[in-house]
């Protein structure tokens, strides 16, 4: 069996219908347990106080914002190279989810920054790259909405996706590139000294898994909708010309 079989819309619809309930239940379970554990049953941090509880939303949403763009890049490249419609429809379906994840990361970061850094916003390399990534998400969505021909829209949005990837990479690695700005290093690291303490780490990992599953569930729902919308458009056109 090859992965390209899922480029067939019928095959994709059949497989996603089976997967969707399991992924949705998994997302609901992981998010409920992770957030309740983190919010109610973890202590305050000795420096950040209770604001450390924002980590359970900020870190997973920021990770998703960057990785959703990476997923969109891969699926857009598949469209450009192999012209598989399901692939580019998945990228289109993922964009609003990525935009919402970026908004959550920006909002929770600002709310955390005010009491901890003394400012809602700083033109720090990572924060600025993240804001630009958000604008790319909006531009990508707007371009899909503005163009009537779906293949032209797919081609042009794939180019936007390629250019925006620069900012997705910068927002992830800005600290390593410039070693300046207010934003601290990664909360999850293989280096025990850098990694967040165990008491916060366990619910955080559960929240990250929950966010990933929520993304997959929403992506399946939205890609199925895009495939149906494409079929609907074709049937309407046929009805009109008959």
């Amino acid at each position: 069996m090859s992965i390209w079989e899922y480029a067939n819309p019928v095959r994709f619809m059949r497989t996603s219908a089976v997967l969707l309930p399991w992924v949705s239940v998994g997302a609901a379970l992981c998010l409920s347990v992770g957030l309740i554990w983190g919010f109610f049953f973890t202590p305050d941090d000795y420096r950040q106080g209770s604001t450390v509880k924002i980590i359970y939303l900020h870190v997973p949403s920021a990770m998703m914002a960057i990785n959703i763009w990476a997923m969109m890049l891969v699926t857009s490249l598949i469209w450009v190279i192999r012209r598989h419609h399901v692939s580019v429809l998945a990228a289109k379906a993922a964009a609003p989810i990525g935009a919402i994840m970026t908004m959550i990361a920006l909002a929770t970061g600002a709310i955390w920054g005010q009491p901890m850094w003394g400012t809602w916003w700083e033109w720090d390399p990572r924060l600025t790259a993240f804001l630009i990534l958000f604008l790319f998400y909006l531009g990508y969505i707007a371009l899909w909405a503005a163009l009537e021909n779906p293949d032209t829209a797919a081609d042009l949005t794939s180019i936007v996706c390629l250019v925006g990837s620069v900012f997705a990479v910068i927002s992830r690695y800005a600290i390593n590139f410039w070693n300046q700005g207010l934003h601290q290093g990664a909360s999850l690291s293989l280096d025990a000294e850098e990694n967040v303490s165990d008491v916060f780490w366990q619910p955080l990992v559960l929240c990250i898994v929950g966010f990933i599953l929520l993304f997959v569930a929403l992506l399946l729902v939205r890609t199925r909708t895009e495939i149906r919308a494409r079929r609907l458009m074709a049937l309407k056109l046929r009805e009109r010309t008959a």
Binding site: F39, S50, M103, I104, T108, R222, R228, E239
Partner: protein, 57 residues
């Protein structure tokens, strides 16, 4: 409810904003899915009825 101390407004508003945004994307995704499915079922039913009528002369 845990004691959030002087940061309670910040923590609760971060959770509030996040839940609202997550609810928004879940709700809009499901609503559009239901609407598209209903429209597609409708047009397919019309097409099938037309085919049946054509077959029966």
């Amino acid at each position: 409810m845990p004691d959030l101390g002087s940061y309670s407004v910040y923590v609760l508003s971060a959770y509030g904003v996040s839940f609202v945004l997550l609810a928004l994307i879940i709700f809009t995704s499901l609503r559009r899915s239901a609407k598209t499915l209903a429209e597609l079922s409708d047009i397919e039913a019309r097409r099938d009825a037309a085919r049946e009528a054509a077959k029966n002369g």
